[in-house]
């Protein structure tokens, strides 16, 4: 009994303290807002926002509501986070493996890359890519095409726009391809377990992914038109590329800075993961006759991943939260659109900041849940 009380009291005190602190802040805010004649409520979300946003994944203009503006900002944040995570993973894995390369030049280049990019503050890097690097790009009228049909200019990266007809049929064909790949993989595994034969699964998979959509094109079910960027004159000296798709330079700079910065940390996670596997594993695998590729794929990586995933999750979370630095270079993310312009136009500081905080919390927790699920999936399954 005595012991039980002893263990409960500190917890109870902590709970009381937390309740008291939250209560104090709530009452304090309420009193101050009342005194200054500020009312509280989320009704403003249905009002017309009356401001435009430079870049949006969904259809939006100022005649839509603040709730829609929030969605625009949220989607832009998710876009930059997803792109950042993809690129930082690719660069990170390459650099991480390169740091262990037996080649002196590759090893040291990778080491220098890591030391340089992780030791310069991220905001500076964002400013560098936006103001120094991207700003050095030519004006639209002086731009030489890149890959024939795309134009990288100071006003944005103009690429051809794809106009699909019956886009859903294409999606179905890809889904069909994926389902058949799953079947073939299962069959291949069974074949190997029972008869020891190996099927070229990768080759078949890629083939299916190409053949299925190709059929829909050949039969004319799906049609694709390409709208190329065309130079358009706005005034005597001002040009843009119309018709095509324009990727704003703000997005380019942000994705570049975020992925190059976060990749250094991912690279270190990868290196730690690979070095964490004892040498004996590699030697044992080699002695049963596996090729170097098979050793990496079947022996080293499955074990290394268990070490790599948890710290890499942290880096993904950091990247997502760091994407809020977008506001510094006019990329319309959640912070700029919602906690910036919308906050200013409505003056609802407490409401908007609370929504924004909850949103980032939800985003971070979702990434955490996803990565924990993956971590569990690849963890050692003890029978």
């Amino acid at each position: 009994m005595n012991h039980k009380i002893k263990s409960i009291i500190p917890q109870l005190l902590t709970l009381l303290f937390v309740v008291a602190v939250i209560g104090f802040f709530t009452i304090n805010a309420q009193l101050n807002m009342e005194e200054r004649g500020i009312d509280f409520g989320y009704g403003f979300l249905n009002q017309e926002s009356s401001f435009d946003v430079q870049f949006s994944l969904i259809e939006y203009d100022g005649s839509h509501s603040y709730a829609k503006a929030y969605l625009v900002g949220l989607l832009n944040t998710i876009l930059v986070s997803v792109l950042g995570i993809i690129f930082c993973t690719i660069i990170g894995v390459i650099i991480g493996i390169a740091r262990l390369s037996p080649n002196y030049l590759i090893r040291n280049t990778a080491a220098w890359y890591v030391e340089f990019f992780r030791n310069v503050p991220l905001l500076l890097q964002i400013f560098f890519w936006y103001y120094a690097a991207l700003r050095a790009l030519p004006l639209p009228e002086n731009t030489e095409p890149l890959f024939g049909v795309t134009y990288l200019t100071v006003k944005g990266y103009y690429i051809p726009r794809l106009i699909w007809e019956n886009f859903d049929i294409l999606i179905y064909s890809i889904l069909a391809a994926i389902i058949s790949i799953v079947f073939i993989r299962n069959y291949a595994r069974k074949l190997q377990e029972e008869k020891g034969q190996q099927l070229p699964v990768l080759l078949i998979s890629v083939g299916l992914l190409l053949v299925f959509p190709a059929i829909t094109f050949v039969t004319g079910m799906v049609q694709l038109e390409v709208a190329l960027p065309v130079l358009k004159q706005l005034s005597k000296t001002s040009f843009i590329y119309a018709e095509g798709l324009s990727i704003p330079p703000e997005l380019l700079a942000l994705v570049l800075a975020l992925s190059l910065y976060t990749a250094t940390f991912v690279a270190e996670c990868v290196r730690a993961g690979i070095q964490g596997i004892s040498k004996g594993q590699k030697e044992a695998a080699a002695s049963v006759g596996l090729t170097p590729n098979q050793i990496l794929k079947l022996v080293i990586m499955p074990q290394a991943l268990r070490i790599i995933i948890p710290p890499t999750t942290n880096q993904y979370l950091n990247l997502t939260k760091n994407s809020s630095l977008a506001a510094a270079i006019a990329y319309p993310d959640l912070v700029l659109v919602f906690a910036g312009t919308a906050l200013m136009q409505t003056g609802r500081a407490i409401e908007i900041v609370s929504i924004t905080m909850l949103t980032y919390l939800t985003l971070s927790l979702s990434i955490s849940v996803l990565m924990n699920w993956y971590n569990k999936k690849i963890a050692i399954k003890e029978k």
Partner: protein, 346 residues
Amino acid sequence: MLRTLKTLMYLLTSIALLVSFETGAFAAKKSKTLKKTQKMGFVRCGVSQGLPGFSNADASGNWTGVDVDLCRAVAAATLGDSGKVKFFPLSAKERFTALTSGEIDVLSRNTTWTLSRDADIGLTFVGVNFYDGQGFMVRKSSGITSVNQFKAGVSACTNLGTTTELNMRDFFNSKGIKYEPVTFEKADEVVAAYDAGRCDTYTTDKSGLAAQRIKLSKPNDHIVLPETISKEPLGPVVRQGDPVWEDIVRWSLNVMIEAEEYGITSANADSMKSSENPAVKRLVGAEGELGAAFGLDNDWSLRIIKQVGNYGESYKRNIADTGILPDRGPNQLWTKGGILYVPPAR
């Protein structure tokens, strides 16, 4: 557990009641903000992060500008020394939160007076110290000489969280032009982006365009288009809920404008005490008890005129002589063809 919670709630409610009672009692007697300001010994004034002519700091941290002078006037009135001001450089996005949260007591930051800002978010506008309107700046080489020559696809750089963002939409929508808004938090970032060619036009208040043009790498390559697309009455703002403080700031501004009207300057203010005109004598504190209503002494207005000068002096020193807008336009006294007209100080 439930009992403890209940007790706690009682405790918190009684504390809350006590606090609210106390603040109510103070406000009735004297301005809480004035009392706090006099106790601290300086006026906390929110200004821009650098807008020549309005609020701009030089290399050694001395602030100048017409917005700055308003804060200096309030300091001269309430503390007796126009130098006792602490300046808080704020972005457009931060300014109102800084004021409503109590970080500053006067916001004098080329802020447009609008209905929703005045009525909605706990602010009170006390007057207008600059009548402005939104305009566009473009490169001379573009050949554009009127806003009617803008075409679909035009990109416009501007500041985040301003009325500019809203006016720009109204304007381009009314013309049926699709445009690309590029909004930055800091004015310097807007200027840098426009300078680098990211945008075809830079839009903000015309006074702001004139002031920021100096910061461009080649100011003479750019022109401000003649059209004005909105009304932008800029003025000082205070927090809602302290009517006496609101009056002090309002009349500090009015005194500066009225002093110009009666020809009282920083140089001749003392000698004006023996003027024949009772309106002049009231302004320099030689007649009447004008300060008493605010809880100030009778020389408050004299100090403003002596230490800061009248509105005309402030305008000349900050905006005309610096070459930003030599022509006073609407910001001329009503007696001289402008629209500056303030209620009489009596």
